[in-house]
């Protein structure tokens, strides 16, 4: 059983009832004492215990390693965080692994680290504005707002429950179901989609034979005199949140698709463009998997995640290097289906991303507006989940036996960028010039503590000395 009273709401819900959101990237001011603010904001954080459909807004919070240091979490406890969290996403070795170039980032660089991420969600713009105003007032004098990203989801069609991202594709369909949590809500979501809670929330059994994922613990002399944490387990009911701001060049993407199709036809052919884009993404824009419906004349709109790739083992419907095949290879990672599912289940994430920026009026015409996706993924072990997916599947030039190709949406480490193979009978068709039109603008690794850990955090600063931690920060 999940301890829902202690888990932050965003972990167990994507807040479909809150189409409006704001992400506040904060640092603690040099002279400020943030504990009182933290104690108060902690009272407002939305838990996962009850999902009240009538609720007007939700608030969730997450911290970087630097943030915990600044908030006075004890130095010995800090050592129990994993290295990737300590280093953060923009550290040179991690950037090398992820294929990133943090020099081009706007935030999250090694010399521009965020401390706290406050996430506000609301059912309408008005409520969000009020909430933003109130939270900004509360943070005044204590926190610096380094960056604010406002977001609004876009329903795929009026009344649709599905949302699309800026390129126009329905997004966020392939969500894992958490084993044992609200099983009545689990769909027949394809093979191996039910995954143990420990992959996403610390303190529970994970996919490695039911072991517990490592969790940051209190270590002497850090103490918990009030007994706020269960057995000193600071990480319990918390998890890691990976955030990446991914800017999308929508006109660039569709312009490229149009140019590719023009080469063949001579005149613009929207149907051909939709088909090529669907091959690249692995789904039609309405979410129908290409592996199920290669000609877009079938597929059950209620079962968009209930499919596998074994019917399409050679990629003749959904190309082997298509985005959704790389991001989640399902039962076709290895030659043996059962082995594939075992392995893939050990590398999944809960995705909570949302678009930012205005919808483009015409997808072929640049309008000079910045837009993209606030990629947000929850996982119990960043190195084994987020970093692994990015490195071994998304950006790997040899994924699925390919030669020098990377994810056609996101790009990767290739010698010659832009190659994309579409397997066909009798022989494959190959596009060149399929360049990524997504650019990372910033990113960081956060930890989303449980509510008890949050209370501990606002109280613990008093019992451990800030000065000691600043020494540690100096060493880092």
């Amino acid at each position: 059983m999940l301890e829902t009273h202690d888990i932050q709401g965003l972990i167990l819900s994507g807040y479909a009832g809150h189409p409006f959101a704001a992400y506040l990237f904060l640092t603690v001011r040099a002279e400020a004492d943030p504990r009182r603010w933290l104690g108060q904001v902690g009272e407002r954080i939305t838990g996962a215990e009850k999902f009240d459909r009538q609720r007007e807004s939700s608030i969730n919070i997450a911290f970087t390693y630097k943030g915990f240091v600044r908030l006075g979490l004890g130095a010995n406890t800090m050592k129990t965080f994993p290295l990737e969290f300590i280093e953060d996403m923009s550290a040179p070795a991690r950037a090398q692994m992820l294929g990133d170039n943090p020099d081009d980032w706007m935030w999250g660089k090694p010399d521009h680290r965020i401390h706290i991420l406050l996430m506000l969600f609301a059912r309408d713009q008005h409520t969000l504005s009020d909430l933003l105003r109130a939270e900004r007032r509360a943070a005044q004098g204590i926190l610096n707002e380094e960056l604010a990203i406002e977001s609004q989801t876009f329903p795929f069609s009026s009344g649709s429950k599905l949302n699309h991202e800026h390129f126009g594709f329905v997004d966020g369909l392939a969500q894992p179901d958490i084993a044992g949590y609200r099983p009545e809500k689990h769909g027949a979501n394809g093979p191996g989609n039910e995954i143990k809670a420990g992959e996403f929330i610390l303190g529970y059994e994970n996919e490695y034979f039911g072991q517990l994922t490592a969790s940051p613990h209190l270590r002497a002399p850090d103490a918990d005199p009030g007994g706020m944490l269960q057995a000193g387990d600071f990480g319990r009911n918390g998890t890691y949140l990976v955030v990446r701001q991914m800017e999308q060049d929508v006109a660039g993407f569709w312009g490229m698709i149009r140019a590719q199709c023009l080469q063949a036809k001579g005149t613009p052919d929207v149907a051909a463009e939709e088909a090529l884009a669907a091959k690249i993404f692995g789904r039609w824009r309405d979410g129908t998997p290409v592996a199920v419906s290669p000609n877009h004349n079938g597929g059950n709109p209620n079962r968009l995640n209930d499919f596998g790739f074994s019917e399409d083992a050679y990629g003749e419907k959904c190309p082997l290097g298509a985005h959704i095949r790389r991001a989640n290879p399902r039962e076709m990672l290895l030659s043996d289906k059962k082995d594939s599912i075992t392995t893939v289940k050990r590398h999944r994430m809960l995705r909570r991303g949302r678009p930012y920026g205005p919808r483009i009026p015409d997808r072929y015409t640049p309008d000079g507006q910045a837009r993209g996706l606030v990629f947000a993924a929850l996982n119990g072990n960043i190195e084994r989940q987020f970093e692994f997916i990015q490195q071994a599947w998304i950006s790997s030039p040899n994924f699925a036996g390919l030669y020098d190709e990377a994810d056609p949406m996101l790009g990767g480490r290739t010698q010659n960028a832009g190659t994309f193979s579409m397997q066909k009978c009798p022989v494959r068709e190959r596009q060149s010039g399929i360049m990524p039109h997504v650019a990372v603008k910033g990113g960081a690794y956060f930890f989303m503590p449980g509510l008890a850990a949050l209370r501990y955090l606002s109280a613990c600063g008093a019992s451990s000395s800030l000065a000691v931690n600043q020494v540690v920060e100096g060493i880092k």
Partner: protein, 432 residues
């Protein structure tokens, strides 16, 4: 042609250690552009590394790992030829090296420092470096040709066109005949015969003394086995282990890990160099020898077609018990990231790895030799990082090819000529 792997261990002059480390790292920083070791001229060489084992007894050692085609003597001759001045630069930091000497003296020095490699593994048995590079060229050229081919042809016509294309290209003349087969004789080792004969004699020899003697002999064997098994179980329960620590406290030194990671993921392939201390005593020494011999045998006769026990991403790997069996050296050349590799270990080959490393100090707790251990995911990864050492200089002859690519290229060539039925034809065309 059979591939081999030499492991050459040279004591380093202690005062020169830092110098050598710096030199190797400099060469290794840009192995494609450096001129000290002309790897391109070493036409038998697949992968090589020079790494330093600094903290062992009896003193710092330089380890040279090579994975090559043909015989050791041929390879060493070829190495000492064009690379002599580079070798001089490297090995003059080692004791007793005949710096500036005749090439014969250097050859003798290297040969004198070869140590036994207990388990040598090559994923694509018998496929030479030249063949890998040639077949990749064949693949690339055919891919280029397919890009020009008009659409609408049927499978047989496409293959025919490919055949014509290959025939017309004089640079692909070699591809008109199939690759050299990897023969049974090349795979076999004299040692196998000796061991099999010993086993047969050991099991069935006493039968010659009559049924009764044979039964008694089997009884003795069973008792000996049970005693050994008891000893193992007792040791497994009492050996100190990383499992005695909470997962969070088992993490290796972050500064060291950061150093290791900074060397990784520059290319699609990576290298892993690790040394562990073997648990003291004859029992573990002997057990490890047996396990390594068994894996060597399976790797050679069963897993030589692109995958080691379901892991399709190891090009070459080896284990060697060095310094009188005090340490276990592991060197691997693999596709993808460290995290990916370790994940495959745990998902596909946990039992085999546990059987090996459970004989090393501090390994996660095991049961019955093969259970537990590597299955303890986070501790096993912590352990693996902890025992890993920094790779100073590492070379790959085909840094952008995965094992799957190499196998695919070989299959493309193999299916280029001769008749294929409809299914085989479709399967062959899917290789592009």
């Amino acid at each position: 042609m059979k591939q081999r792997g030499l492991t050459i261990l040279s004591p380093i002059n202690e005062a020169q250690l830092e110098h050598l480390d710096c030199l190797l790292r400099t060469i290794g920083d840009d192995v494609a552009k450096q001129t000290q070791i002309p790897f391109g001229k070493l036409t038998q060489l697949h992968f090589a590394s020079w790494v330093i084992f600094a903290d062992g007894a009896p003193g710092p050692q330089l380890i040279f790992e090579s994975n090559f085609d043909g015989t050791a003597v041929d390879f060493l001759r070829q190495l000492v030829g064009p690379a002599q001045s580079g070798l001089d630069q490297i090995y003059r930091h080692c004791t007793d090296y005949p710096a500036g000497g005749a090439s014969n003296a250097i050859l003798e020095y290297l040969q004198a420092h070869i140590v036994n490699t207990d388990t040598f593994y090559a994923s694509c048995g018998g496929v030479t470096r030249e063949q890998i590079l040639q077949e990749n060229q064949l693949h690339d050229k055919i891919e280029g040709f397919l890009g020009q081919l008009p659409a609408g042809k049927d499978a047989a016509a496409v293959r025919r066109n490919i055949q014509e294309f290959v025939t017309q290209d004089p640079a692909l003349a070699w591809a008109r005949k199939p690759a050299e087969p990897y023969t049974f004789l090349e795979q076999a080792r004299v040692r196998d015969v000796v061991i099999i004969v010993c086993l047969l004699v050991g099991l069935f020899g006493p039968r010659l003394l009559g049924w009764k003697a044979w039964l008694i002999w089997f009884g003795i064997l069973v008792i000996v086995f049970l005693i050994l098994y008891r000893i193992l179980r007792r040791k497994e329960a009492t050996d100190p282990s990383i499992s005695d620590k909470p997962v969070e406290d088992a993490q290796p030194d972050p500064v060291k890990t950061e150093q290791l990671v900074s060397r990784e993921n520059r290319r699609p392939q990576n290298h892993l160099f690790s040394i562990t201390t073997v648990k003291p005593g004859v029992f573990r020494f002997a057990l490890l020898k047996v396990v390594l011999a068994l894996i060597e045998f399976l790797g050679r006769v069963k897993f030589y077609k692109g995958s080691l026990s379901g892991i399709p991403s190891i090009h070459f790997a080896r284990w060697a018990m060095i310094n009188d069996g005090k340490y276990l050296l592991f060197l691997s050349n693999f596709d993808g990231s460290w995290e990916h590799y370790l994940g495959e270990f745990i998902d596909q080959a946990a039992h085999g790895l546990t059987a090996v490393w459970s004989n090393a100090v501090n390994f996660p707790r095991t049961w019955n030799l093969i259970e537990g251990g590597a299955a303890d995911e986070e501790r096993f990864k912590s352990y693996a990082r902890g025992m890993q050492l920094y790779t100073q200089l590492w070379y790959s002859a085909y840094p952008f090819l995965s094992v799957v690519n190499v196998e695919n290229n070989a299959a493309i060539r193999a299916g280029l000529w001769g008749t294929l039925d409809a299914d085989a034809l479709d399967a062959w065309l899917r290789r592009f």
